[in-house]
Symmetry: C2
Subunit: 232 residues, 2 copies
């Protein structure tokens, strides 16, 4: 075949799809983002993307080598969304907290993008820009380079990792979530204090928190530890 290569230069020749749509990388990424937002991670498929674009599924492959390439482009875009409109306050701890929550939130609807961002470090522009910001905050706060890099790594991976986890919960249909909650409540309430004293003692607390994301806690703990390191 004619080697479905994706050219790097900007395209100048265009032909509309059957529905009259003119495609670009940008348009495809934006459409994909909208689909993810509206239908969740499982809702983005080549076929449906093609449909949403008014084009054949295979047309997507003229622009991206495969779905992974597309998701990678989406992933980079999300870093841009995460820091959009943000500016440093001067308080490193508050700044990192804000950025952590923003990144976590941006990837919440796009867990597949989080997986790729973390596993396939490809140096895409928005990702690099975000890295620079985070490292800048840490070094500006006075962390020695080795510590700054270590904390940066833990910080960014933790935000992405929790996004994936929390996204899975979010993606469940409400009915399934309620059913699970019921089972859980039952199971934990039924455990006798003789065999499971600690669960029995804390069951109400456990149940009350079971639907919350643990990310804010984990983030705060990471920042508290970093702060202690800085002072110590």
């Amino acid at each position: 075949m004619a080697k479905r290569v994706v050219p790097e230069t900007a395209r100048r020749r265009r032909r509309p799809t059957k529905q009259g749509q003119v495609l670009t990388h940008q348009l495809i990424v934006e459409t994909a983002l909208r689909m993810l937002r509206e239908h969740g991670a499982a809702g983005l498929t080549a076929r449906r993307l093609g449909l949403a674009l008014g084009a054949d599924a295979s047309t997507v492959y003229r622009y991206f080598r495969g779905m992974d390439d597309l998701v990678l482009a989406i992933a980079d875009e999300l870093f841009g969304h995460a820091v959009e409109g943000w500016s440093p306050s001067g308080d490193w701890r508050a700044d990192l907290r804000e950025l952590g929550l923003r990144i976590h939130n941006a990837y919440l609807t796009h867990p597949q993008a989080a997986v790729l961002t973390a596993s396939r470090v490809t140096g895409l522009p928005q990702e690099v820009a975000t890295d620079e910001i985070i490292l800048g905050i840490l070094r500006g706060a006075g962390f020695p380079d080795a510590d700054a890099v270590r904390i940066y790594h833990a910080f960014i991976d933790q935000s992405l990792a929790f996004s994936i986890l929390d996204a899975a919960t979010l993606a469940l249909p409400p009915a399934a979530r309620e059913a699970d909650e019921e089972v859980w409540r039952d199971t934990y309430a039924r455990l006798p204090a003789t065999t499971h004293p600690h669960i029995a003692a804390t069951a109400p607390l456990l149940v009350a928190r079971m639907n919350d994301s643990a990310y804010p806690t984990a983030l705060d703990m990471l920042l508290a530890s970093a702060s202690a390191q800085l002072r110590g």
Copy 2:
């Protein structure tokens, strides 16, 4: 159809597969675990599982409602593996560190199981047992119940979340990983200090750490913060 219901009572009547194998829930889970260990998360499919069992893929559905049910069973099994042979040392911090690493490691080859464990809290036996152990360590260390529950939640989700992330890296074919590493090294080395001073200053450190999991760092920071809370 005859409603493919999975009976809850132990089965007594058995008919071997064409290959003479006699199936049980246990055998299916064990075979699936082996496939995950040997071929990674993407290597476990209903068809291949059937093949490995010497049975038709559809036979699996006589034992599990669907793939999710099977993976849930696997997930619970993994908690058992994680704490197998472990006993508390009396040092709560060292104990939690050990358990965190064990859980992270157990789910490393089974990220799909980690996703389900965290998103569909179903109160399966091994999971409950592990929860009891962790809560016991925290309450034994002197944490008030509210803190113990909060830390427990962050701790367990952190280990699962990082498993998913690290598993994605692990699953990449070595060639792809090396190619990515190359790109990364290039990108970061090429950034001028004028536009990206912080990356430029720490590039060697960044590159040196890029393939390591950030989990141990994040875990230690979480424990350090917990310890400070306890003392404070």
